[in-house]
Every structure is written in structure tokens, then in C-alpha cells.
């Protein structure tokens, strides 16, 4: 299924994401890495304050779409793959891999690259590559 190329909306939305990352760092001194913040909520060892701040950030994420609905009258448009097995496997791999690799698209891809972190650049190139290979295999070799 084709999707519309949206350079301006994507650039603007991306800048909002960047502004949110700067705001969290400026006020809380924390990296806006979603896998890190989410997993800290139920980490075996994390102080209560870190847990609380992380939970509030995630709550903010969860409130974005309802706010969008409230203002615009519609949920944001999206098409989500619905295969039960595929989505269960995808969830497991994303959750495990992002925490095991110390970050996801936000922590490594946005915040890490912005700091010029070599680890984050390597991580981002790695997950971009395996993601593109996976899509290629699924769409053009298996499903094609």
C-alpha cells in the first residue's frame, strides 16, 4: 500500500519531537529514549523518582492521541498490521532488542546522534539495516 510523501509535516513533527527531547533534558536532565523510560517503570532497580518521572513521560505519550481526537474530532490516520503472530513476534523483538541494545529510534536515533555518540550511530545504522532487510524479505521474497 502506498502512502503519501509528507516532507513538511514530517519535518515539523520531527522538530516537535526534538523540542520535547530538549525540554526533558533541560528540566529533568534525562534522555528522551522511549525504551529506556518505559522499561525504567518496571526495572528491578530504579529509584522512585526516576520511576515516577518516566511513568509521567509515558503517560504524556499516551495522552497525545486522545488530545488529537479532542481537538480535530478524528483519531490520527493509521494502518496497523493485524496478523496476531506477526505483531506478537514484532512486539517481543522490539521490546527485547531495544532494551538489550540500550536504546531505540528515540534514544539512539535522535538523542544519541544529536550528542555525536559513536555507540548510537552504530546502533542506528544496525537497526535501520536489519529493519530494511526484514521488510525486503517479507515483502519481496516471502510475500512478493
Amino acid at each position: 500500500m502506498e502512502t503519501e510523501f509528507t516532507p513538511w509535516l514530517s519535518l515539523g513533527g520531527g522538530m516537535l519531537i526534538g523540542a520535547a527531547a530538549v525540554l526533558l533534558m533541560a528540566t529533568n536532565g534525562r534522555i528522551a529514549g522511549i525504551s529506556g523510560l518505559t522499561s525504567r517503570i518496571f526495572a528491578a532497580k530504579a529509584d522512585g523518582e526516576a520511576r515516577g518521572v518516566s511513568a509521567l513521560f509515558v503517560l504524556g505519550l499516551l495522552l497525545a492521541a486522545p488530545l488529537w481526537l479532542l481537538v480535530s474530532g478524528n483519531w490520527p490516520t493509521q494502518t496497523v498490521p493485524s496478523g496476531v503472530l506477526v505483531m506478537a513476534a514484532a512486539g517481543l523483538l522490539v521490546g527485547f532488542g531495544s532494551v538489550f541494545g540500550n536504546g531505540c529510534t528515540s534514544g539512539h536515533g535522535v538523542c544519541g546522534i544529536s550528542r555525536g555518540s559513536g555507540r548510537s550511530i552504530v546502533a542506528t545504522v544496525t537497526f535501520m539495516a536489519t529493519a530494511a532487510i526484514t521488510v525486503f524479505v517479507v515483502r519481496h521474497m516471502v510475500g512478493g
Binding site: 502512502t3 519531537i17 522511549i34 504524556g60 488529537w68 517481543l92 523483538l93 538489550f100 555507540r119
Partner: protein
Amino acid sequence: MKQVFALLSGLIFGLGLIISGMSDPAKVLNFLDVFGTWDPSLAFVMGGAIAVTAPGFALLRRKRATPFYDTKFRIPDRSDIDPKLMTGSGIFGVGWGLGGFCPGPALTALPIAATGTLIFVPFMLIGMWFAQRTPDPFSTLKTGEA
């Protein structure tokens, strides 16, 4: 105060994901499908985010010794490229390519309650839980060398 700003940061982050199209797996999968129905939009999301975050972080580092409502900046200080980083990132990418969701967009899309999202998110949390409790299998290699 810091709690208020944490909530606000999450909300702005989520709105950014929605506006940019990143919370739509169809767009993400098309971005990754370079040899098919390629949609380069997400390069603009990352570019836009870094264009704000990089100067923002640099400015904070120059102007501030501490955050406004906390005692210290928690910036990762590791620089070694270890097998755990590569393995984790590689596994994450495979899942991202399968479902079109990474953690932020999946959580943002959760209230929309599409079937795929309702399956994806609990399994993502289980995966995170396991990763936290999985010791680094490569750490023995390192001590072996030392």
C-alpha cells in the same frame, strides 16, 4: 515541577510522532521498503528532530551546569561498541521491520486501540522485562581477554 515537565515532554513527543506520520506503521514500513513503495518522509522526521535536539543539547551543555528542576544531567558516557549493543539493535530492527512500530509510536497509538497495536504493546513490555533480566552473554568474552 519536574514531573509536570516530564508529562508535558511526553505529550509534545507524542504529538510530534502523530503529526510526522511516524505513529502510522504503514508509513514506517514504506520508509523501510526502499525497493518497493518507498516513502522517504521518515528521513525528514529524523532530520527535523536532530536539527532541534543537537543544537538544543549543545546549548544546554554550554549554558547550564544542571537541569532546571533536577540535580544533574544524566548523559550516557560509554563509548565502546560492544556485541550486546549490536545484537540488541539488530534484533530491535527485525521487530521494527515486521510490525512497523518502534516503542514510542506503539505507545502513542495504543489508545487508538487497533488490533495489531493491542497485541504488539503487551508483547513489547514482556520483551523489555526479559531484556532487563538477561545478563550480558558477551561479558565473559571481555573478562577472558583481560
